[in-house]
Structures are given as C-alpha cells and as structure tokens.
C-alpha cells in the first residue's frame, strides 16, 4: 500500500475542492442568472475538459504552463522552480480539468431557485450578497454539494492529465491512480488490488455520505 500516493491524492482532491467551491458558486450563479452574448461559448468552454481526451488536455497544459510558456516563465521568476512536475502544477491542471464537474451542477442548483423567490429576496431589502447567503445558497446547496463530491471523486480517479503533467515523482506528483498503474506495470497485482479496493471504498463512502446529507437537506426544506 502506497500511503504517500494515497495521501497525495487526498491532498490534491481536497485542495481542488477548496479552490473550486467559491469558483463554482460564483460561476454557476452567473451562468444561471445572467444573460450575456457569449454565454453559449462560455458554457461550451467550461464543458470542454469533459469531452477532450485527458492526454490532449494534459498536452496543452504542458505547453501552456511549461518552462517556455509565459505562465511557466513567470512562475519560475517568482518561485525559482518549474510549475510542471510539481504539486502546484498538478493542482492547477486538476482545477481546470474539474471545471465542468464543479460549475455544471452548481449552475443547475442555482437555476432551481425560482426567480420570484430571488425577486422577493431583493424586495425584502436583501442585498445581492445577503440574498446569496440567506436565500440562494440554502436552496441551491444540493447542486453545489453534488458538484464538490464529483470534483473530489473525479480528482481521486484522474489519470491521463496527471500522467502528462506530472510524471510520477513520489510525494509530489505520484497520485494513487499513477501508483496503481506502476504496480501493475511491475506485476505487483496484490498491491494494485489493495490500492484499487481502497480507492473504491473511499469513493463509495464519500458519495454515500453526500446522498444521505442531501436527502436530509431535502427533508429540512420540506
């Protein structure tokens, strides 16, 4: 059992959720409520990582954030090391590749809040910010929660993009999915089996907890 890889995967999934939670709320709300000219295009771009092969996506990440790219260059100037082949680079890729899983369900959640209820909130004197906290988020919460579970589970299982972006530096970029692949390559089927089963268990527990939680929220809303 590669505990370092498991810990790294959990850390990556956790940070991805932390970063995507506010982003999904802001972007999901914007896409749900606002009408603007390029909305269709923005929605398409957000969904793109869902349809692209992870290798293609990873390749562009490598090109966009590599040592010779402006972003990679700036990162090097600031921190003295490369962005790719590091945990930070992995996190960046993970955030981008998870955008559709984060934004889509959150957007659906906000769309489920009736427009009259939002109008009533503003007519009750609630500023947009207070309306978000007191009315919209409590009602859109199941969507946001679903988004975060998907992001967490999907990050644990991500393989292609991480392989392209990170290689497999232990404790830095070697996630549990990569570790399983390595074990199979090295004919350690038992090690791969244990780690796979662990991953299945973690995913199952996460999703079960979420469903139970959202069912409770659903009951609370009556």
């Amino acid at each position: 059992m590669d505990w370092t890889a498991l810990y790294l995967s959990l850390r990556l999934a956790g940070w991805t959720v932390v970063i995507l939670l506010p982003l999904s709320i802001l972007a999901g709300r914007l896409l749900a409520y606002r009408r603007f000219r390029a909305k269709g295009l923005v929605e398409a771009i957000v969904m793109l990582p869902l349809v692209l092969p992870p290798t293609v996506f990873g390749f562009y990440m490598l090109v966009a954030f590599g040592r010779n790219s402006p972003v990679g260059e700036l990162w090097f100037q600031l921190f003295g090391h490369q962005l790719v082949f590091t945990f930070e680079g992995l996190l960046l890729a993970s955030v981008i590749v998870n955008l559709p899983f984060a934004i889509q369900p959150a957007q659906r959640g906000f769309e489920a809040v009736p427009v009259e209820v939002r109008e009533a909130a503003s007519c009750c004197g609630l500023s947009p910010w207070r309306s978000l906290w007191k009315v919209e988020l409590p009602l859109a919460w199941p969507g946001v929660l679903t988004a975060m579970v998907l992001v967490f589970a999907h990050t644990l299982g991500e393989f292609g993009v991480i392989l392209m972006m990170g290689g497999s530096i232990p404790g830095e970029t070697k996630t549990i999915a990569i570790a399983i692949y390595d074990r199979v390559q090295g004919f350690d089927m038992q090690g791969a089996a244990i780690m796979s089963a662990t991953l299945v268990a973690i995913s199952l527990v996460t999703i079960t907890l979420t469903y139970m939680l959202s069912a409770r929220i659903g009951r609370r809303l009556g």
């Binding site: 109008e119 503003s122 007519c123 009750c124 004197g125 947009p128 009602l139 009556g222």
Partner: protein
C-alpha cells in the same frame, strides 16, 4: 407620502400610464392578463425598467430614466406580495418575516404574524401552511419591510373562493394599519370594487378609465372593456340580529335588510353587494309584495348606455345603489333625477358570497 408613477415603453409591451396613489389609499390596477398591470407593479418595485419612467414616493425618487436614477429593489422601501407569494421555502413563517426586517427581531415578527391572524403558526415552513396562510405570511413579510409603498400582485388568485372571501375581509380590516399607498393588481373587477378606493383600468398598456371605485363601476365603457355585464353596488350595513327563521336583519342607510343567515356577530359591519340587474324600481312604496327588502332613495342620475338599458343611480343616505332597467321602463315611469324611488331587492339576490365582512372575526382559524 404619495406614490407617483409614470411609465412609457414600446417593448416588450406598449405602455403609457401615469397615476398617483395617496398615503393610506388603495388603488386597484385592473386589466386583463397582458394589459401591462403587472409590468407597472414590477416597475415600482424595481424589478423592471421601462424605456421612460419615473417612480417617486414622497420626496424620494426611486426611478427616473431622465436623470438616470434607478435604485435597486433592495434599496427601495417597498413591500411586495407576489402572486404565488414567493415565500422562502427553507425558512419558517417567522424567519420569512424576519428576513424583511431591518434587524432580526422575533417579537416584531410575531406581532406582524398575529396582525395577519397567524397566531401560533410562526414555526411552520411554507410547505406546512395552507394557501391562505401562505398569503398571510407574504402580507406580514411585506409589512415587515416598513414599506413606503405596498404592492399586491393578484394576491387572491391562488386560493379557493371561500378562503378568498375571508382574506378580503382581513385585508379590509388590515387597512386601518396601513398608512402608505397601496397598489393592488387584479383582473377581477369585483375584487377591485370590494377593496379599492380608486381604480385605474388598463388595456393594452393604456389607461382606459381612472377614478373612484364608484365612478369606474358606473362607467359602462370601462365595464365593457373588462367584459363585465353584471354591475353591482356595495351598500354598507351592520348586522343587527339573527332571527329564528334563519334570516339575519341588517341595518343599512335606506332601512332594514333581511338576508339569509349571515355568518357574522351582531355589530359587525358588512358591505352588501347588490347586483344592478336584480333591482326593481317603483315610484310608490309597494304593498303586498313577497320581496322583503325595499329601500327608498333619491335618483342621482340616469346614465344611458348602448342598447336598451339605462343605469339608474340612486342615492341612499349618501351611499349609491345601481338599478339597471330598460329605457322603455324609465320613459314610461318618467324617472327624473331628484325624484324619490323605491328599490325592491329580491332577498335571494343578496346571497352570502356577495357579502364581505369589513371587520373579520378575529379568531385565528386556519383558512
């Protein structure tokens, strides 16, 4: 602080309307669906901005497209009761009301819920309340905003007939507490007549007729625009006693009225709705008729409409009742303004659902 509204637009619906509502006055915007009445209400609330518009309450400008002033809804002191109430489903009745208060104050929220006869239901979620109760929460929430203008958007359309009559009575009673201008949007002329001081009839975004409720209800053109054929007058009366034979004796300006059992305690003020086409006129006080209700009055005016009928307005102790009779009958009787006539009201024509209590019994019953 009066509410002044002016709105002009071409799209999405043509609109060219201006009106003013005095403090404490209830103005009904009456029109068919698509006439623009709800758009006007949304303009006042700040949920919609027409191409050219001005909304002013007292000295405060909420919207003026000419000077570019446009306050967001949450910056306007406006109370809105939405058609389907739009309560916050995750909050209790008390929390709904508190959400509209400037500072969370459970005592004040409870007081407002008591005011709308929702005593003891503060901890219920909207889904656990009946339609009538939800409407009352919505009213309490709108009042919690301490509004400079109160807006009611078809607030009675989502409840059944019996509940509606009860809610009418409650709104009428509640008006003693309302010092701000109130705007009611409705497609129901009879509802407007029951509740409003003044009416503005809107058709295709234009004002067809504006005036006091009595003026508009006596205007054949306005009524035709609303597709109303049955005109009625409202006569204030007081319940005096319930008789053993099942009738209730009421005292009205022109004399006693006997109606089939009215569900209200003696002393209760009510308005009796008298349909104009069910009134028979007689010059002399008739004797030997089966009809029990005969009111004497003075002809105020006779208004001829299209067709064979005329509308006779009869002054009864300062109140007005209407009689629709044929032009031929009016000519034969040689009716003239200023003359005394006796209006014969068939007892059955003043049925129970034509009575709206002006003061509700204050029992906190659930509707």
């Amino acid at each position: 602080m009066a509410l002044e509204v002016m709105a002009q637009a071409i799209a999405p619906i043509p609109l060219d309307v201006a009106f003013r509502v005095e403090p404490g006055e209830l103005l009904a915007l009456v029109g068919h669906s698509g006439s623009g009445k709800t758009t006007l209400l949304r303009t006042i609330a700040g949920l919609w901005r027409p191409a050219t518009a001005r909304v002013r309450v007292g000295g405060t400008v909420w919207l003026d497209t000419r000077t570019g002033v446009n306050l967001a809804p949450h910056r306007r002191r406006v109370g809105v009761v939405f058609q389907n109430y739009a309560l916050f489903p995750h909050m209790t009745a008390a929390q709904n009301v508190m959400a509209a208060l400037d500072a969370p104050d459970l005592a004040e929220a409870t007081r407002l819920l008591d005011l709308v006869n929702l005593h003891g239901l503060a901890d219920r979620k909207p889904a656990q309340l009946s339609g009538g109760q939800q409407q009352r929460v919505a009213v309490a929430r709108a009042l919690a905003r301490k509004p400079a203008a109160l807006l009611l958007d078809e607030p009675f359309s989502a409840v059944d007939r019996a509940t509606r009559d009860k809610l009418y009575a409650e709104i009428i009673a509640l008006r003693a507490h309302l010092a701000m201008p109130v705007v009611l949007v409705t497609h129901d002329m009879n509802e407007a007549q029951l509740l409003a001081d003044r009416m503005v009839v809107i058709e295709k975004g234009q004002v067809v007729r504006a005036g006091t409720t009595a003026q508009v209800m006596a205007d054949a053109g306005a009524l035709r625009a609303m597709g109303i054929r049955e005109v009625a007058a409202l006569l204030p009366a007081m319940v005096v006693e319930h008789l053993p034979d099942g009738l209730t004796r009421l005292e009205a300006a022109g004399g006693p009225l006997f109606l089939p059992s009215v569900e209200a305690a003696p002393g209760t003020r009510v308005r009796v709705r008298i349909m104009a086409h069910e009134v028979i006129l007689s010059r002399a006080r008739p004797e030997g008729l089966s009809a029990q209700n005969i009111i004497a009055g003075r002809i105020a005016r006779i208004v001829a409409g299209h067709g064979p009928a005329v509308m006779v307005h009869i002054d009864v102790g300062g109140q007005e009742i209407l009689a629709r009779i044929t032009r031929r009958a009016a000519d034969q009787m040689a009716l003239q303004p200023g003359e005394t006539v006796h209006a014969i009201l068939k007892a059955m024509s003043v049925a129970r659902d034509h009575i709206a209590a002006t003061a509700p019994d204050l029992t906190p019953t659930a509707a």
